[in-house]
């Protein structure tokens, strides 16, 4: 066979000389102007006004509106009749097997509840396992939960819920202590204290981490204990619809076994949504750092049942997602590299933003550089900027990058980029759903019997999340809401399976038909993204 080599443009050829002069700090007005002009949340394009449901009138990204104003997956042949008995009856059904779902299940079981944890892929397959940088917890001598609160509130552009934040910062140290006792190996300083590092937008070093494997290290430990516990676990079983009980309350869910397509009817006194985020919807065609199952299923089901959503127009585009090599598109390079001294340069070798501005400001600045022609073109036609880690080794000693960020070095190395010597090409990647289902400090939604925890919930971070606060939220609220849901489930007035129905779904479909007469609406939850090039319609 003749071997012909195509030689695409190599963005590493003709690297500019990097000028390390620090750019001027932005004033508050400049920052705001930059966000308005470049941050996807604030741009008017690709937005839809909702017409149906509790958030009618909200202007949201097209992709989010599309899954919210959608038909049931079960509706194509008419909604199924409720069978004579459920397949299983539990006190608490937890939907989602990431950090929040695992914590909630473990603590609900300890509170005496019979728990079923249902998840779409395997236990632990989630955004939690991918968290690299760390968890914010105020442990420094000159730090305090109060300071943590102030940083988080300011970082969220003064839109976070103060009560939710107050619980987050107060319960943080205790939940971290629980993780340490379970054998999660956080990095220590020479005196044996948990090492504290600095994240963007904070006033104190407050990030604890396990190298750049923080989420993985925690999930490995918790998954083992969960699998060994009395929690009933159904993997590869996504929820496709919630069930309605007396007075519009939540009474369980319908799960679908992805291997044989059969439906499993679950009767539950309480249902806790820990379904995570929405990166795989690729809002605005952005690449994503999220795991394969991040399709916002919980939002869809809760919205049909009347739950209110909060800040659903607000997403975090992490500034530094890999844009080249293209097969890695969206993969995250943790903010911790900028905390350690990595710098960003445009095509002309100039720095263009202070690297430790909040994530939305840094992302906007990168988009501005690329839109104004100062981006670096990749072989597949995208643009990015250089993220240079070599400054870290120069300033903190040879080998620092390798020691602090072994995962990044390993992954980039698999794609022939030695990031201890070469810059990484980056562009913002869809990373985190800032908003979500509205809830109080016990995870109650507007629907009785329906709870939410983790990324699926909204309120803690307001319209911008600081690094390390979501991982803390997952553990603080996973535990807290799991306990609360278990308590209320055990106390709930008994109801009969005959009172269980899909009335809320029928009602929602009628509202859709009224608003969109004669048009076919998309079906949701979509469960999995479809990247197949030659997919057959029957497979979809």
């Amino acid at each position: 066979m003749t071997v012909e080599k195509s030689l695409p443009i190599n963005p590493y050829e003709n690297l500019p000389a990097f000028d390390s002069t620090e750019p001027a700090a932005y004033s508050a007005t400049e920052r705001e102007d930059l966000l308005r002009r470049y941050y996807p949340d604030y741009r008017p394009d690709r937005k839809t006004t909702l017409h149906v449901g509790a958030n009618a009138g909200d202007v949201l990204p097209d992709e989010i509106a599309s899954i919210l104003e959608s038909r049931s997956l079960l509706a194509s042949k008419g909604l199924p009749a409720v069978p004579s008995a459920p397949d299983i009856e539990v006190d608490l059904l937890v939907i989602g097997g990431g950090g929040a779902g695992i914590m909630a299940s473990v603590f609900a079981m300890e509170a005496g509840a019979r728990v079923l944890l249902a998840t779409k892929l395997r236990i632990g397959d989630s955004n939690t396992v991918m968290a690299e940088g760390g968890i914010q917890v105020a442990l420094g001598e000159d730090d305090s939960p109060v300071q943590h609160f102030k940083d988080a509130y300011r970082g969220g552009h003064f839109t976070g819920d103060p009560e939710l934040l107050s619980v987050l910062v107060r319960e943080g140290p205790d939940v971290i202590s629980w993780l340490v006792k379970k054998g999660v190996l956080f990095d220590r300083d020479p005196s044996g204290n948990l090492s504290l590092r600095k994240g963007g937008g904070t006033s104190r070093p407050r990030l604890i981490s396990a190298k750049d494997y923080t989420g993985l290290e925690i999930v490995r430990v918790l998954k083992e204990d969960l699998l060994n516990s009395a929690v009933n676990i159904w993997e590869f079983s996504p929820a496709v619809e919630l069930l309605q009980g007396p007075e519009g309350s939540c009474a369980g869910a319908i799960l679908r076994d992805v291997d044989n397509g059969s439906l499993k009817w679950v009767k539950a006194n309480a249902v806790l949504l820990a379904t995570g985020g929405t990166g795989r919807l690729h809002i605005g065609d952005f690449a994503t750092s999220n795991h394969f199952g991040a399709t916002g299923d919980g939002l869809v089901m809760a919205y049909r049942m009347g739950a209110k959503l909060l800040n659903m127009e607000s997403f975090q585009y992490h500034p530094t997602g890999v844009i080249y090599p293209s097969e890695m598109a969206g993969m995250l390079i943790t903010e911790a590299v900028r905390g350690a001294g990595a710098r960003m340069f445009n095509r002309n070798g100039k720095r263009f933003v202070q690297e430790l501005e909040t994530r939305d400001v840094v992302a906007s600045a990168i988009i501005r550089e690329c839109e104004e022609g100062r981006g670096v073109r990749t072989p597949s036609g995208h643009h990015g900027v250089y993220l240079d880690l070599t400054a870290i080794d120069r300033e903190m000693g040879e080998g620092t990058v390798e020691r602090r960020f072994p995962n990044i070095v390993k992954l980039m190395g698999k794609h022939q980029v030695d990031c201890t010597k070469q810059p990484i090409l980056v562009y913002p990647t869809l990373h985190y759903q800032n908003g979500g289902i509205a809830s109080d400090t016990s995870g109650h939604t507007r629907v009785q019997g329906l709870y939410v925890a983790g990324e699926a919930s909204g309120g803690v971070h307001g319209k911008n999340r600081l690094m390390g606060n979501s991982l803390l939220e997952v553990f603080v609220y996973g535990r807290r809401v799991g306990q609360e849901a278990a308590r209320e489930a055990l106390d709930r007035k008994p109801f009969s399976w005959h009172e269980v129905n899909l009335g809320h779904v029928e009602r929602f479909q009628k509202d859709l038909e009224k608003e969109f007469p004669g048009t076919s609406r998309p079906e949701a939850p979509i469960l999995f993204p479809d990247y197949r090039k030659h997919s057959h319609p029957d497979h979809a």
Partner: protein, 228 residues
């Protein structure tokens, strides 16, 4: 919608997926090659970021007798590659409560008695897609050097490929997990800065101030929190 793309002008190469021949562009990962050819992948996919361990794969290259291993979401297909996903590998896992085990070092041999039977073949190290020196970690565990195990195995994604090759039939990744947990929970002293902060929180040091902040109007709160 967003698509993973091969570079412009990428040449087509021949690969075998689960034993069947396909043509795919160079520059795709194994998982992307499966999507490109229309496979629906649900078992064998997770984070797509190389950390969840769902996508363990085996592959061979033409003219080479060796069996290679990889994470399918991170490994590029090459001309003539034949690969299959190993979406799950059955593994024995011990039941224990790390805080209750009387002697952490002895605990290893109670829970995983086979951990002292390594025959030094080194197949586990050769198979590890993360490049971990698995054999060393097994010996470190057997000699009670749990700190060493932690350092050797920190990047383990629990894919279980080491189990598939171990002639002593152990589960090195589970043994390493136990050793890391025992080291973190039982051997390292509880961190002082954390203990100190927990004491202040539980004695109510911050309650008044946090409650005051929660009661402020948004304008007042903005003023208080506005400056770093």
């Amino acid at each position: 919608m967003f698509q993973y793309e091969a570079p412009e002008g990428a040449r087509m190469i021949q690969v075998w997926i689960n034993g069947k021949e396909w043509q795919v562009p160079e520059g795709l990962t194994m998982i992307q090659a499966m999507w490109y050819t229309g496979h629906e992948v649900i078992h064998g996919i997770g984070c797509l970021g190389g950390v969840c361990g769902a996508c363990a794969a085996v592959y061979r290259m033409p003219g080479n007798f060796r069996l290679f291993n990889a994470l399918a979401c991170q490994t590029l297909v090459k001309e003539g590659m034949a690969f299959s996903l190993i979406a799950s590998y059955p593994t024995q896992r011990a039941h224990y409560d790390i805080e209750q085990i009387p002697d952490a070092k002895e605990g290893l041999f109670t829970l995983y008695p086979e951990s002292a039977t390594c025959r030094n073949c080194n197949a586990c190290t050769e198979v590890c897609p993360q490049g971990i020196d698995v054999r060393t970690s097994v010996w470190q565990a057997a000699f009670g050097d749990f700190k060493g195990v932690a350092e050797t195995t920190m990047s383990c994604v629990m894919c279980g490929l080491c189990v598939s090759r171990c002639i002593a039939e152990m589960a090195p990744h589970e043994i390493a997990l136990y050793a890391r947990r025992a080291y973190a929970s039982r051997e390292l002293a509880f961190p002082e800065n954390l203990r100190h902060r927990m004491d202040s929180v539980s004695s109510g040091t911050y309650d008044e101030e946090l409650e005051r902040l929660s009661r402020l109007t948004p304008e007042q709160l903005k003023l208080e929190c506005g400056v770093k």
